[in-house]
Amino acid sequence: MLLIDCPWCGPRDDEEFHYGGEAHILRPRDAAALSDEAFADYLFMQQNPKGPHLERWSHNHGCRRWFNMLRNTATNEILEIYPMGEKPKTEAGQAAYAANWRRETAAEKNALSGEGS
């Protein structure tokens, strides 16, 4: 039973949370231009490392906020928790982030495109 430190509510049992899979998946901006293969990559091909994993969680039985987390899937050790739209700050987190092949957050993506909404 994981003890997850919700950035807002503090430490709670994993039962209160919803696991949202890999973090930092870039949703294609111009999906129409993508091949089926490239789109499948976005849709289905999630990182599945044995070791530090950047993932999203939501405290959905509490404050309903989403956040990012770095967890070692081989030990369940939680290494870092950081807000949605931000990058990890720990060394392990940055290494995991660098190893990701589609590292961009929604905020970054918007910044890239220079548009608001």
Partner: protein, 205 residues
């Protein structure tokens, strides 16, 4: 063929627990005291905490600043403003006061990005009190309720048995007001009564 109104006290609107609570009473020395708080007003207040206009507006309408500290509730007279998320509060007020409060908030917040939703009927409040209240909660709630950690003025949104709840502690007894969705209230009431069995349960009106 059908009874017009349920065992709801005359002149009152029915609550989700009217047909569930059963007889009022129980041992005087019971470790657990349960009651329902009928139809308290409940407003969901949304707004950005870093928006000064919003905070001042809300403070003006409520008479107290919406708490910025997670897991706490601010109170003013009988009204409690419970932190539920970084941009969300639940305002619990005396029965019948919610409409006035809503319009006071609306006018105080005009021009800010905010939302107010009247959810007075979405949930009901079960009041749990008594020397064993903490032990009863602990049977279904995984968060630490030890007085060193969780005391008067604190609140939590969490699971209690199989229901999602928001509760806050309001005295040292300890006593808690537990907000639970209307349709889960009968389940939770039954569960609380059952969990209180070893301590004795008294039901109050």
């Amino acid at each position: 063929m059908v009874e017009k109104v349920g065992p709801t006290p005359p002149g009152l609107d029915p609550t989700p627990l009217d047909r569930v609570i059963g007889p009022i009473g129980g041992p005087a020395e019971a470790g657990v005291v349960l009651s329902e708080r009928r139809h308290w007003g409940k407003l969901v207040l949304r707004g950005e905490p870093d928006d000064k206009k919003f905070i001042t507006g809300a403070t003006k309408a409520l008479g107290v600043a919406p708490p910025s500290k997670p897991n706490t509730a601010a109170t003013i007279q009988s009204t409690a403003i419970i932190w539920t998320a970084p941009n969300e509060w639940l305002v619990v007020s005396e029965p019948g006061t919610e409409a006035a409060l809503e319009s006071a908030l609306e006018s105080a917040l005009a021009g800010t990005h905010h939302a107010i939703t009247n959810v007075s009927d979405h949930s009901t409040i079960i009041r749990l009190s008594g020397t064993a209240a903490r032990a009863v909660l602990a049977k279904g709630c995984a968060i630490d309720l030890h007085p060193r950690v969780f005391g008067v003025g604190q609140s939590a949104q969490t699971n209690l048995a199989k229901a999602q709840v928001i509760f806050r502690q309001f005295d040292e007894m300890p006593s808690y007001d537990i907000l639970v969705r209307a349709s889960f209230a009968p389940y939770l009431w039954a569960w609380l009564t059952d969990a209180g069995l070893e301590f004795g349960v008294r039901v109050e009106g």
